[in-house]
């Protein structure tokens, strides 16, 4: 469902990863590994179409990608339900009835986004993924500031709802989600310092 061929992504005008190729079939997840600064966020943003790729191809069904990072765009002055309803309306999808339970937000439904703790906000940000109904998810550190229980909730939703219904997820994370998913180490794709490329190459 998701196929990446020979992708080169750039950060600040310099290539950081090159020759990245992988494929993820429907119903499967891929976990990106690699030390800090290797370019996981850059790769995910490129996959989601926020950044142009310098070379290579990214194929997934049009209008099926969604991106999520630790900045989840939760509005402090909207309630939990309003935050979710907004995204549901933008994507033209109904809010699933059980979504608040799935992310343990039912008790917080009427609370203002601004009064939530960091972990609660994060859960709300992840619940957004359940609302927008996109098949191909690009998740950048989805479990930041989540406790063990919440990580399990998220992994459960990912495995049993998203992937089970034929979705795909590419996840950058440092922790073990407790899922049976292949891992891709990005270290071999790292662009060496002396290697060419980059938007300012013409100046060298």
């Amino acid at each position: 469902m998701l196929k990446v061929t020979n992708l080169t992504c750039v950060r600040g005008g310099l290539p950081v990863l090159s020759g990245v190729s992988f494929a993820v079939a429907a119903g499967h997840a891929l976990i990106l590994r690699g030390p800090n600064g290797i370019g996981k966020t850059t790769l995910l943003r490129t996959l989601a179409g926020l950044q142009p790729a310098e070379a290579g191809q990214i194929d997934y069904p049009e209008d099926e990608g969604a991106y999520a990072s630790h900045a989840d765009g939760i509005k402090a002055a909207l309630t939990v339900t309003e935050n979710l309803t907004f995204w549901a309306d933008v994507y033209g999808k109904p809010v699933p009835d059980d979504i608040l339970q799935r992310f343990d937000l039912a008790d917080l439904a009427g609370r203002m986004g601004g009064t939530l703790s960091a972990g609660q906000k994060r859960r709300l940000g992840l619940a957004r993924l359940g609302v927008i109904g996109r098949k191909v998810l690009f998740l950048d550190e989805p479990t930041v500031s989540l406790d063990g229980f919440s990580v399990k909730l998220f992994a459960d939703w990912l495995q049993n709802t998203h992937l089970a219904s034929g979705g795909v997820a590419v996840i950058a994370t440092h922790i073990d989600l407790g899922m049976d998913a292949p891992e891709l180490d990005l270290t071999p794709f790292k662009v060496a310092a002396g290697q060419g490329g980059g938007t300012d190459e013409a100046f060298l």
């Binding site: 989601a48 179409g49 926020l50 950044q51 142009p52 209008d63 990608g65 969604a66 991106y67 999520a68 990072s69 630790h70 900045a71 989840d72 765009g73 939760i74 509005k75 002055a77 909207l78 309003e82 907004f86 995204w87 309306d89 933008v90 994507y91 033209g92 957004r128 927008i132």
Partner: protein
């Protein structure tokens, strides 16, 4: 798009300040003018169209940097950019929301403040009409400026420097329409030209704004 508009309006109302601050600023500028130029009614009446237009322009400027800054910081803008909502549409909606929260209230209170400056009675209709036609252009131009400076830490001042020259044509036609109305001349020419600018802004600037946002999100 309606969802985004409703969300922005709701946020403006709940966060407070959105409506009130611009209006209060408008009032204060207009009240300060007589202290500066003296209380003579004839003088005030002559400069009233210009003062009202300049003051509403500055009041509209005040809230521009918040159009995209908050959504940019908390990541909502990146999420909107990857959503099915076209970024051009989002830019248009943002401008519209800004107009509803600043331009429209300014237009509605302007006649009351015109009274304070003893604006000629014939000019009230044209004041209302010119602001109604002109302030949407101010919001759209301002949205473009806000998109240009969204990634910058101290973008506020730069934003004014970028946007104010772009406001010149709208200001000229707007104030001219009111002035002609006050002098008993026919202001339709100025109003039509201003309408043309507003229409042109809404036709072109959403695309420029979206392009600029994409560059800034990279």
């Amino acid at each position: 798009m309606i969802a985004l508009l409703l969300r922005d309006l709701r946020l403006a109302v709940r966060a407070g300040g959105g409506f009130g601050l611009g209006l209060a600023f408008f009032l204060i500028v207009v009240v300060l003018v007589p202290f500066g130029v003296g209380p003579e009614t004839a003088v005030l009446s002559r400069i009233a169209p210009g003062i009202l237009w300049v003051a509403s322009l500055l009041a509209a400027l005040l809230s521009l940097d918040r159009i995209f800054a908050l959504d940019f910081e908390d990541g909502a803008l990146a999420l909107i950019a990857t959503s099915p909502l076209p970024l051009e549409g989002a830019a248009l909606v943002k401008a519209l929301a800004h107009w509803i929260t600043t331009g429209l209230p300014l237009t509605l209170v302007a006649p009351a403040l015109g009274f304070l400056l003893s604006l000629a009675p014939e000019a009230y209709a044209y004041l209302l009409l010119s602001l109604l036609i002109g302030t949407p252009a101010l919001s759209m131009i301002g949205t473009f400026g806000a998109a240009l400076t969204v990634g910058l830490r101290r973008g506020g001042l730069l934003l004014s420097l970028l946007v104010l020259p772009l406001y010149v044509p709208t200001l000229i036609f707007g104030a001219e329409a009111v002035r002609r109305g006050a002098d008993g001349l026919d202001p339709t020419g100025a109003l039509m030209l201003m309408g043309g600018i507003t229409a042109g802004c809404f036709a072109v600037l959403p695309f420029a704004t979206a392009a600029v946002l994409r560059i800034n999100l990279r």
